[in-house]
Each structure stands twice: as structure tokens, then as C-alpha cells.
């Protein structure tokens, strides 16, 4: 009996107040409950849907928690070697200038192993969108220190807290790429509240529209949580993010083109 009941029997069309975009597949997300990746995925796909660009978009998945992003996004995608997504995106965009090309990367991928690819794609002003999800930790490998781990923050490879003297300072790569003439639009967003989600989506949409206008590189950082890596409940993690991450990684536009 039970196995014959489908979603449609439970959720009646007339009662629907929200429907996920068709560009997200029905595959169950591999992310931990409470993680921001799912929301970030949804926003990117909603933007592609609103631009009617499913057939014109190519995404690049990183190595890290979102390595399987191509399982959830119903568009053509390539999975890059660790940190190299901007190099793939550079070539695809140059070979298909009329397509929307974006990378979706975490902080270890983008700001440690892929620093050179990130900075040079930004510096060349590649006409692509970089979505950078920063949760201050290597999530997939089990919570090691990332380039963006806060001073004093504990991780499995900074078990007594990040000691700046020996482990270095967290890298504000978003501020760094904003200095480069090749970046057109640089902003830092979050997806922990409905208001933040709306703002983040606006930023992502603007970034994709910039591609259409040939404006150069748009760089969207999304400060996010990692409740499992941070060893907190989802609510605690979001609160910790507000109290600790946001003061260091201040939300808002960092580089906005003059209209």
C-alpha cells in the first residue's frame, strides 16, 4: 500500500504555495541538513530558469562538498579538478561566447588550491560568473582548516583554534579580487534568512545578466555555514555565522559598476 503513495497524493496542486524550479533535479541533496548549499543551488537554477537559459548555460562543479552539484542542477556541467574551475570556465566561455558559464566553488577550492586560477581568471576579466560559497572550513574531507577559517576557530587541523602566528591569517579573497580591473561586479551575500536569500538571488541574477552584456567577471561570495564541520546544530551554526563570520566577512556589495 504505502509504496504506491506518491508525492502527488500527499501534496495537492491547489494547496501549493511554493514549487521548486524544474532545473533542480529530484535527486536527494547530498548536503547535511541545515547546510546553505541547497539554497545556493536553488538560487542559481532559479536564475537560469528565469533567463530561459537552460540550453545556454554550462556550469563547472568543484572538488569539495559541491563536487556532485551536477547531480542536482539540470544543466550541462563539467566537474573540474580541485581549484581549476575558472580555467575550465575560461576556455568554455571563450569557445562559446554566447553561453552563460559559471563556476560553483567552495573556499578550499577557490581560495587555497585554486588561488592562481581564481586571480588570473578575474584579472583577465573573463566574462563568467563565479559563485563562491565560503563556510570557513573543508567540509567534505571532514572539517579541516580552510584559507578562510577565522582566527581562533577550531577545526580538525587547528584543534586548538587557528593560531594566526603559525597558521596565517584568513584570506579575504573577495576583497582581493575586487582590486583587479578585470572584475566588474563583486559582492558578498548570505542565504540564512528569507531576506538574505532574496538579496543573494538578486546578486546572482545581476551576475548572469552581466555576462549577457559582456561586462566581465562577476564574483559572488555566499558566506555560509557548516553545522557538521563546526560541530553545531543548524540553528547554532547560523547564529555562530551571524556573530562571528559576518563581522569578519562583511555582507554587501564590494565592487559595483557605475550605472
Amino acid at each position: 500500500m504505502a509504496e504506491n503513495i506518491t508525492n502527488k497524493d500527499i501534496v495537492k496542486e491547489e494547496n501549493l504555495v511554493y514549487k521548486k524550479t524544474d532545473l533542480l533535479t529530484d535527486k536527494a541533496l547530498s548536503y547535511c541538513p541545515g547546510c546553505g548549499h541547497g539554497t545556493a543551488h536553488r538560487l542559481v537554477m532559479e536564475v537560469v530558469e528565469e533567463l530561459e537559459a537552460q540550453d545556454k548555460t554550462v556550469g563547472i562543479a568543484p572538488v569539495g562538498c559541491s563536487v556532485l552539484a551536477y547531480e542536482f542542477m539540470d544543466i550541462d556541467m563539467q566537474q573540474a579538478a580541485h581549484g581549476r574551475a575558472p580555467a575550465l570556465a575560461t576556455a568554455i566561455k571563450r569557445l562559446y561566447p554566447e553561453k552563460y558559464v559559471f563556476t560553483y566553488q567552495g573556499d578550499g577550492d577557490l581560495a587555497a588550491i585554486g588561488t592562481a586560477e581564481t586571480i588570473h581568471a578575474c584579472n583577465r576579466g573573463e566574462n563568467i560568473t563565479i559563485i563562491f560559497v565560503n563556510n570557513g572550513i573543508y567540509g567534505m574531507t571532514g572539517g579541516q582548516m580552510a584559507p578562510t577559517t577565522l582566527p581562533g576557530m577550531r577545526s580538525s587541523t587547528s584543534p586548538y583554534g587557528r593560531e594566526v602566528a603559525s597558521m596565517g591569517n584568513p584570506l579575504k579573497i573577495t576583497e582581493l579580487v575586487a582590486q583587479l580591473p578585470g572584475t566588474y561586479y563583486v559582492t558578498r551575500q548570505a542565504v540564512h534568512t528569507p531576506a538574505a536569500v532574496r538579496k543573494a538571488k538578486k546578486a546572482i541574477k545581476k551576475a548572469f545578466e552581466n555576462q549577457k552584456l559582456n561586462k566581465g567577471l562577476s564574483f559572488i561570495e555566499i558566506v555560509s555555514n557548516c553545522n557538521s564541520g563546526w560541530k553545531m546544530t543548524p540553528n547554532q551554526a547560523n547564529q555562530w555565522m551571524v556573530d562571528n563570520m559576518f563581522p569578519f566577512y562583511e555582507l554587501g556589495d564590494i565592487k559595483v559598476p557605475e550605472e
Binding site: Q54, V58, M77, Q79, R84, A91, Y96
Partner: protein, 357 residues
Amino acid sequence: MKELRLMKGNEAIAEAAIRAGVDGYFGYPITPQSEVLEYLMLEKPEERTGMVVLQAESEVAAINMVYGGAGAGKMVMTSSSSPGISLKQEGITYIAGAELPCLILNVVRGGPGLGTIQPAQSDYFQSVKGGGHGDYKLIVLAPASVQEMYDFVELSFDLAFKYRNPALILSDGAIGQMMEKVEIGEQKKRLTDAEVKERCPWATTGKDANRERNIITSLDLDPNKQELFNHKLQDKYKEIEEKEVRFEEIQTEDAEYLFVAYGTSSRICQKSVQLARAKGLKVGLLRPITLFPFPSKRLAELSKQVKGILSVEMSAGQMIEDIKLAVNCNVPVEHFGRMGGIIPSPGEVVEALEQKF
């Protein structure tokens, strides 16, 4: 009317790329192959054919640009020399794992480490045994002239697309730098995006409503599926070994001794054959043109005819291992080589033959 030009090997590669209708070249300067990138920049291929040429920030970035372009179905290539090719191994294994066609040129210099800028053949193992991690093979072509540098660009792409496998041209500093007469082919048109879609229905060209999304990845976390995939790769390599072996024989009909040499060494050995025959030694030369697949069957046949085989390589002896496997102890196999950027003289090779047999 044939179009003939006097060109460097590296320039021939670049001109061949434009003429073959290559869509993208991504490179990084390193001696002795920088002329490839220089020639392309000078020629403005974006005006001639629309070809994209980009100087990347590193060899690592360049090969990953190739990965992106190849995944999108385009004809893309990169070139480098030994230390740079080592850096590219990460990208190459991803490309092999994602089963993508592309061309990589290695204008080999002496190693290990930063080594020297003079020609060597010490990257044989790296080229034919994989190079990066995992069980994979490249299709490896070894040109012995500037003409072959030119011709092998199109041949490499044909094979790469036929088998969805990266191809590597294993050249060296001598062939890259020397100038010879080259017969230039016709300008081919680059494929249109519609033609790319037809040739590469698997490529990330944008998901149309009438097909499932295309995913380019080398990841499968399910070990059972990963093993099946590895079997599929191995089957492909077997097919390549059956169908794509290429080699050249010089005076092997009556040979009692055999040189086996590729690339620059094979040119030296051609002269050595003449010198040896002038001394009354019946020597022939087998020149593998494909290093993977290796001409093992032909070597096994020849091993029944000759009394000894001398593998001549500008290395400590790498190809000799494949020769030994091919002849299965039927006949003594010896190595002669120079290293570190030294090219042996034809006389040295004959002396080595006389000493060893």
C-alpha cells in the same frame, strides 16, 4: 601546386593547428617549445579561422582550459616541455578519466627536475605508461621530422576523437627547433557549433529540451561502477592496440641485427644503418611511430629473424622495457643511449652495437 615552407618543428605544429581547424590552443612559455605559442600569437588565428589562442597563467591552468574546451566538444590543444608536462599530469588524468579528445605536445628536454633545455627522450615512461594517477593510456605519436610534426596534428585529433581519448605528440628539442621543408595542407574549416553537437552528442554544449543533461566528470563513488568503467577503458586501449599501431622499417628484410629507435634517435640510427652496412654488418631499423600502441607484434616477428636488438634512446633506457616484453626473451636486447641533452652520433651507435653483440 604543393605549398612548401621552411619551418621549425614548433612552427609546423602551430601552422598545422590553424590549418586543421583547431578551435583552441592554451599554452604557457617554456623552452624549447615557446615558438608554438609565439607563432600562434603572431599569426592571429582568430582572424584566420576564429581559433582561440590564450596564454595561461600556468601549465596547470592551460591543461585545465583544454579539459574545459574538450568537454564542450571543441578541438583543443596545449603544448609544453618536460617540466611543464609534469605539471599538466593532473589535468591529463582527468581528461583521460572523462574520456575527452584533445592534443598535448611534449617537446622533450633533459631531466629530471629543471634538467636542461637540450633534447632528450627521457619522458617515454611518463608518456606511454600513463603519467598521472590511475590506469589510463594516451595515444602517443613520435614524429621524426618537421613534416611529421605538421602531419601528426591532424592525425592526433582524428585518433583522439575516434576513441574519445587524449593524444600526445612526443617530440623533442631537436625536432622542435630544427628547420626543414614542410608541405602545408589545405585550410580546413572549423566545425560549426551545430557540427560539434553532432560529432560530440556527449559534450556540454547546453542542455536542449530533447536530451538529458550532459555531464563531464571522472568521478564515480560507486566502486562497482568505477571498476566497470575501468574495464571499458581497458577495452578501448586494447582496440587501439589492435587497430592503430604505426611504424616504419628500414632495411629489415635481410637484417641480422635491429635498431629500435623513435624520433631524433631514429634519424641518427638511419645513418648508423648505413655505416654498419658499409662495415658488412647487416643491420636494420624499426622506428615506432606510435609509442602507444607499441609495435609489439612486428617486433616479436623480427625477433625470430635477428640475432640481437639494440634499443637506441636519449634516455637511460625506457622503451627497452617494451621491446623486451614484445620479444619475450627470444633474442638479446641491449640499450644504448645518451642522457641529459646529449644526442649520440651515428658512429657511437655502431660502436655500441659492435661492443654489445
